[in-house]
């Protein structure tokens, strides 16, 4: 069986996963911080973002970007890869934001109060006191969000991104052998297993940084 297409697909999936992890991490952190903001409307908006995007299917977001946006008077046309990337990032950011908020909430209130009473602004407190501690605590749940994201990149095949599942369907259509999908399944492990190892490594490393006394 010709596996060239599958390897090409794996590379595309890898590219899509890494880029959407980065974008959703940034976007999700911003929204997570917004949820903890002292400004009420900002917090409520961020809350709405998280609740809404966690409760609708990713496919709707992808179709909205692919078919909806060009129909808008703004005529926003994204390429297939960008469609997949933006859709995955917007969807996953809601999950990241939820994890970031939980991390911030797990910190003692005294952290915020102490930093504020030292005269640090809310933004400085967030940047130098709260976020570093929150991130050390949320590495494991963040890791599972990103493993889920990697699996969700398969949905990008529906918007014609030539990633792993897309290529497997081409191979399947040529060979009439659904078992090619079993090989595809194993290929996803090539990404998700190292990701899990990386998360464990980061967890070990940052738990030392958090509690170590230097």
């Amino acid at each position: 069986m010709d596996l060239t297409l599958l390897w090409l697909g794996l590379l595309e999936t890898l590219k899509l996963s890494i880029l959407s992890i980065l974008i959703s991490l940034v976007l999700g952190t911003v929204i997570g911080i917004m949820r903890a903001a002292p400004l009420r409307p900002v917090a409520v908006f961020a809350e709405g973002y998280v609740v809404f995007f966690r409760n609708i299917p990713l496919l709707i977001i992808l179709f909205f970007i692919l078919n909806g946006l060009p129909a808008s008077p703004l005529a926003i046309r994204l390429g297939f890869f960008e469609t997949g990337l933006v859709g995955l990032a917007v969807y996953t950011a809601a999950y990241v934001a939820e994890v970031v908020r939980a991390g911030l909430e797990s910190l003692s209130r005294g952290q915020l109060e102490a930093a504020r009473s030292l005269g640090m602004s809310w933004a400085l407190t967030m940047r130098y006191v709260l976020l570093p501690q929150a991130f050390a605590a949320i590495i494991p749940p963040l890791g599972s969000v990103f493993v889920a994201l990697t699996k969700n990149t398969a949905l990008a095949s529906t918007v014609a991104v030539p990633e792993l599942l897309y290529q497997s369907k081409i191979v399947e259509a040529r060979t009439f052998n659904p078992n090619v999908l079993l090989i595809t399944g194993l290929m996803y492990l090539i990404i998700t297993i190292p990701l899990g190892v990386l998360v464990n490594h980061l967890e070990a490393r940052f738990s030392v940084a958090r509690f170590g006394q230097r």
Partner: protein, 265 residues
């Protein structure tokens, strides 16, 4: 006096406290107002959603979503229980296959599983149902049972060891203890997580559209291909999924609050 009254009144005015549910709904409402403005949706394109026929068409999709996800979750529970017990078994010939099934299926994308089941199914299916409906339900059932198996396993492990020890010292066998002592308690403890899985399932039924099943999302696609209003239709369909899930989540929270709160070991 007036100052005093103002001081007293002040906290009350500031303290318009919203419950967390109201706050979420308010946030979603803000988002739902902002989205049409940001993307310049055309109010005229919403006109078709005043017609009964459109809602009958969409309503059938909502029904499909609910039926498929209910069947999948109910059918997943016995399989999940078997997998969880298998994984906790002391017998290697039970434990390793259970681990392989659970971890293997959880590691692949659900869409891949759906395609695999759909493509390897026989041409003729019973009950006069569509192949795609059966394939989707089966795939969702298998996938959900592996996730629920992990939830149940965690629930069993969370129970006090003394429960099993006490049951065994009363003369119950391992399986009797599981059946009459451990499992009833596990189900009570894990019910909220099992119900939360329902929300995921409702979203995942939308993948059925990829194997040519006419469920809720596909009905939306059919509508916007006919009326050329993709943004507005997807907005309405998205809202429906949200409403379904929000209702389910509230039901799940209600079981958490109102569920039996008996003492556990």
């Amino acid at each position: 006096m007036a100052t005093l009254a103002a001081l007293r009144a002040a906290p009350r005015v500031r303290g318009v406290r919203l419950s967390s549910r109201q706050q979420s709904l308010l946030g979603v409402a803000i988002l739902l107002v902002l989205l049409p403005i940001a993307f310049r949706m055309d109010p005229r394109n919403f006109a078709i959603f005043t017609e009964v026929a459109i809602w009958q068409f969409i309503g059938a999709g909502v029904l499909t979503v609910l039926v498929v996800s209910t069947v999948a979750i109910v059918a997943s529970l016995p399989i999940a229980a078997v997998l969880a017990l298998g994984r906790l078994s002391t017998q290697p010939w039970l434990r390793y296959p259970a681990i392989a099934v659970v971890e293997g299926i959880r590691a692949v994308p659900l869409l891949l599983l759906i395609f695999y089941v759909f493509l390897s199914m026989p041409r003729d299916v019973p009950f006069g149902l569509g192949r795609e409906t059966i394939a989707l339900t089966l795939a969702l059932m298998v996938y959900t049972s592996t996730i629920n198996a992990e939830t149940l396993r965690a629930g069993i492990l969370a129970l006090d060891r003394g429960q099993m020890e006490a049951a065994r010292s009363l003369g119950l066998s391992h399986w009797q203890a599981m059946r009459y002592v451990i499992f009833p308690q596990t189900f009570r403890g894990t019910l909220p997580s099992l119900l939360a899985q329902f929300t995921t399932l409702v979203k995942d039924t939308s993948l059925g559209s990829q194997i040519s099943m006419v469920e809720l999302l596909q009905r939306g696609v059919i509508i916007y291909q006919g009326f050329h209003n993709p943004m507005e239709t997807l907005y309405v369909i998205g809202l429906l999924y949200f409403a379904l899930n929000f209702a389910l989540e509230q039901a799940s929270l209600a079981t958490q609050r109102g569920g039996p709160q008996r003492e556990r070991g």
